[in-house]
């Protein structure tokens, strides 16, 4: 199937992918795209409604909301991708080891997964942030840990089903090492479902970043993130609703785009398996 055919058959997924590419570009070029410095305050310009000069208006300190939302894309996307990525890599490693070797290894991995799954992500994020202190990288670690069992569980389940395939035994009988068998035969079978789940957890991570920043546990003021823009905006809701509206829309669009993209990836993988 050619790339064009893929695009034509999944217009929604393609649209989502385009939105995601634009978001990444915005994150990279935020300083160049921002009309104002996101941190510069100007009391004279506080609480302005949207205008040609300030597209999304200004907040109570007179900072340009458009510039702040653009800059906030960075921390949201960075955290939204890094923490699930860490979780995916570490979770896959654990899940594959457990599923492949079974026995004691699997029991240890299984119990660890169960334990971590007891905590809702948000709670675990709060706990770890509380332990490590607030801050961006602390939040990355917290969410990475919170997501890890989700990936480990999926990797383990996929590994268990591939492990029973006779071609695994055939490779071993030829003389392959376990490491090669895992790399060559297990990983490709695990990576598909993991990719799908990854996109969905990216969306969740972005939501959680906003939530935790809103609670004051994520990106620290004055640096902007979508979460703390909303937090600041809430304190000044009657001054100007525009910060909340702008950051809220940014979060919704991004989360929606990742979810739709994830659905499209899953459909594509299903098609591949059918053929």
């Amino acid at each position: 199937m050619t790339a064009t055919a893929v695009l034509l058959r999944r217009p929604v997924g393609t649209l989502a992918a385009i939105v995601l590419v634009l978001l990444v570009l915005v994150a990279i070029f935020a300083p160049a795209l921002s009309p104002y410095d996101p941190l510069t305050q100007s009391v004279m310009q506080a609480n302005l409604a949207p205008s040609a000069a300030h597209w999304f208006g200004t907040d109570q300190f007179g900072r340009d909301v458009f510039s702040r939302v653009l800059t906030g894309t960075r921390s949201s996307l960075l955290l939204g991708t890094i923490s699930p990525a860490i979780a995916a890599i570490a979770g896959c490693a654990l899940g594959i080891l457990g599923g492949y070797f079974g026995g004691v290894t699997d029991r240890v991995v299984g119990r660890a997964i169960d334990l971590l799954l007891c905590f809702p992500e948000l709670l675990l994020g709060i706990l770890v942030s509380a332990a490590l202190g607030p801050g961006f990288w602390e939040l990355v670690a917290a969410l990475g840990l919170a997501f890890l069992p989700r990936f480990a569980r999926i990797a383990r389940a996929s590994t268990l089903s591939v492990r029973r395939e006779p071609y695994i035994e055939a490779s071993l009988s030829v003389g392959c090492r376990h490491a090669l068998v895992i790399w060559r035969h297990v990983l490709p079978n695990v990576s598909g479902p993991i990719m799908v789940v990854l996109t969905l957890w990216v969306a969740t991570a972005i939501r959680l970043e906003a939530t935790l920043s809103f609670l004051g546990l994520g990106t620290q003021a004055p640096a902007p993130s979508w979460g703390n823009i909303i937090r600041d905006g809430l304190n000044n809701l009657f001054g100007s609703p525009w910060p909340i509206i702008s950051a809220g829309i940014a979060i919704s669009v991004t989360v929606l785009a990742f979810n739709l993209f994830g659905d499209a990836v899953r459909d594509l993988l299903d098609v591949e398996l059918d053929e």
Binding site: P166, E169, A170, S173, L180
Partner: protein
């Protein structure tokens, strides 16, 4: 058997732990030799431990007890690394020709794997060697770039055989290699295995439940029941003068496409007992038409009845 055996199994056994922690003895005290160029068939019904025995020879399943000698080396004591190197000499053909080939890899990639992991051929040579292998099993070199799903069952089994012979092994364990194939294709694979044996003097451990196929391909036959060998001997001995009542029943259960053949069939009563509850004494006594009181308590050991023919039965 004048030549020194390629492989000897000595009192090998396998215990599995069941879910509830009970120990299930799947294979118990099995011994046999396989001479160079010889085919030993291992026959029996499901759960008799024949596949487990075959896999233990390659240590794809670790034996719980006993020793396995490849030529003069006791392979049960080898480290994992040395055992992997040893697999050059001992290969396997699987029952399921679809499942034993990775669906994501081309035939060429699958067939290159043995060379790669044993470092015997450079990448440049591999294509030629794969082409030669494909030719040897009756396929053509262009097939190397295709995926397993593009082949029929018989062709896939040829590919599985090509992988097994890639490193010129001395022994191939063939686990029900034709039972998943269409009848009209089985003969092709049986003939191919025989041709390869003539060319390379490879030995086979041929695991099967179809006694007619075994009659055709084997030199010697071992009959297993619930983890133990109950009769072992030359093909003509076992087929012409079977001595163990189980062997007799198995042979009479073979359905041949001959309408007048059905007259004198021995029909065993009952089911094969579960390997987790092997009957006391002679495991076969629950179904045996001639069992006596002593069979229920005393386990018969293998004893030689005729030159090369051993059976485990008190009454034969």
């Amino acid at each position: 058997m004048s030549a020194a055996p390629v492989l000897s199994a000595r009192h090998i056994g396998k215990d599995f732990k069941s879910e509830r922690g009970r120990v299930v003895r799947a294979v118990d005290d099995v011994s046999f030799d396989i001479a160079p160029g010889e085919t030993l068939a291992l026959v029996g019904e499901s759960g008799c431990g024949k596949s487990t025995t075959g896999r233990m020879l390659l240590r794809l399943i670790e034996p719980s007890t006993g020793q396995i000698f490849y030529q003069d080396t006791d392979i049960t004591t080898l480290s994992a690394g040395h055992m992997r190197a040893m697999r050059r000499h001992m290969q396997m053909v699987f029952q399921d020709p679809m499942g034993s080939l990775s669906p994501r890899r081309t035939i060429g990639q699958t067939l290159t794997e043995p060379f790669e992991v044993h470092g015997v051929a450079k990448a440049a040579d591999c294509r030629d060697r794969v082409a030669a292998l494909l030719h040897q099993v009756g396929l053509s070199p262009e097939h190397a770039d295709r995926y397993p799903r593009e082949f029929s069952g018989g062709q896939r089994q040829r590919i599985g055989i090509a992988r097994a012979i890639a490193l010129n092994p001395k022994l191939i364990v063939a686990d029900e290699p034709v039972s998943a194939l269409d009848v009209s294709v089985q003969a092709q694979i049986v003939n191919l295995l025989q041709d390869l044996q003539e060319q390379t003097r490879v030995s086979y451990l041929f695991i099967a439940h179809d006694l007619a196929v075994v009659r055709h391909i084997a030199d010697r036959v071992a009959v297993m029941y619930l983890g133990r060998i109950v009769e072992i001997g030359g093909k003509h001995q076992v087929y012409n003068t079977p001595r163990h009542p189980y062997t007799k029943a198995l042979l009479s259960a073979v359905l041949e496409p001959e309408p007048e053949h059905t007259a004198s069939r021995i029909i065993l009563r009952g089911d094969v007992p579960s390997p987790s509850a092997v009957p006391s004494g002679c495991a076969f006594h629950t179904r045996c038409p001639i069992a006596e009181a002593r069979c229920r308590v005393e386990r018969p050991e293998l004893r030689e009845m005729d030159k090369g023919q051993e059976i485990a039965c008190h009454l034969a």
